[in-house]
Symmetry: C2
Subunit: 103 residues, 2 copies
């Protein structure tokens, strides 16, 4: 059972889609969500507990974005336009994870 | 920007892994998380805002599990051992989604 220690959070899940506009239309029609950002290569959608990124495979891999205070232990953090810093790694099975620095 | 309307939630993200024990060991070492369940075919891990399912591809597809009051609109719900009811669908790009009935 969960204890009271502070658990890490998943900031976002990035799914590969073939067409950003089509995907946004579909997710918006079927789920209660809010579109936070969109362009031709990716979009960001808010659901109640996480963000969902819709990405074109040629631009971004599908991945899971964790917030962890240990992000910098995994490699050099890249600064993004929104001020966040992160590094991409893979788990032992090859799943892409983006580790975002906490705070 | 998000409004005050109630947004749907993501219950869990299921990632394909090659070995459940190896994956659990890796995720437990690198993230603050709690193992809720494990057997040889899948495991369930709690992080602060969602659950992470680690699954063997032959048993379960990698997927995103949404909680939505409209789950039954997408097909016949299957009752699981834990009392939850859900249906699997795919989005237009072929991503698997599990829609769990709310409440």
């Amino acid at each position: 059972m969960p204890t009271s220690r502070k658990l890490d959070a998943v900031d976002h899940v990035a799914l590969s889609v073939t067409d950003i506009r089509e995907a946004l239309d579909w997710y918006s029609r079927h789920f209660q969500c809010e579109v936070l950002y969109q362009d031709d290569t990716w979009a960001l959608v808010q659901v109640s507990n996480i963000k969902l990124a819709l990405v074109i495979p040629s631009q971004h891999p599908p991945h899971l974005g964790f917030v962890t205070p240990k992000a910098a232990d995994f490699g050099s953090l890249k600064l993004h336009r929104d001020g966040k810093r992160s590094v991409y790694i893979t788990d032992p099975a090859g799943n892409f994870l983006e580790l975002l620095a906490a705070g």
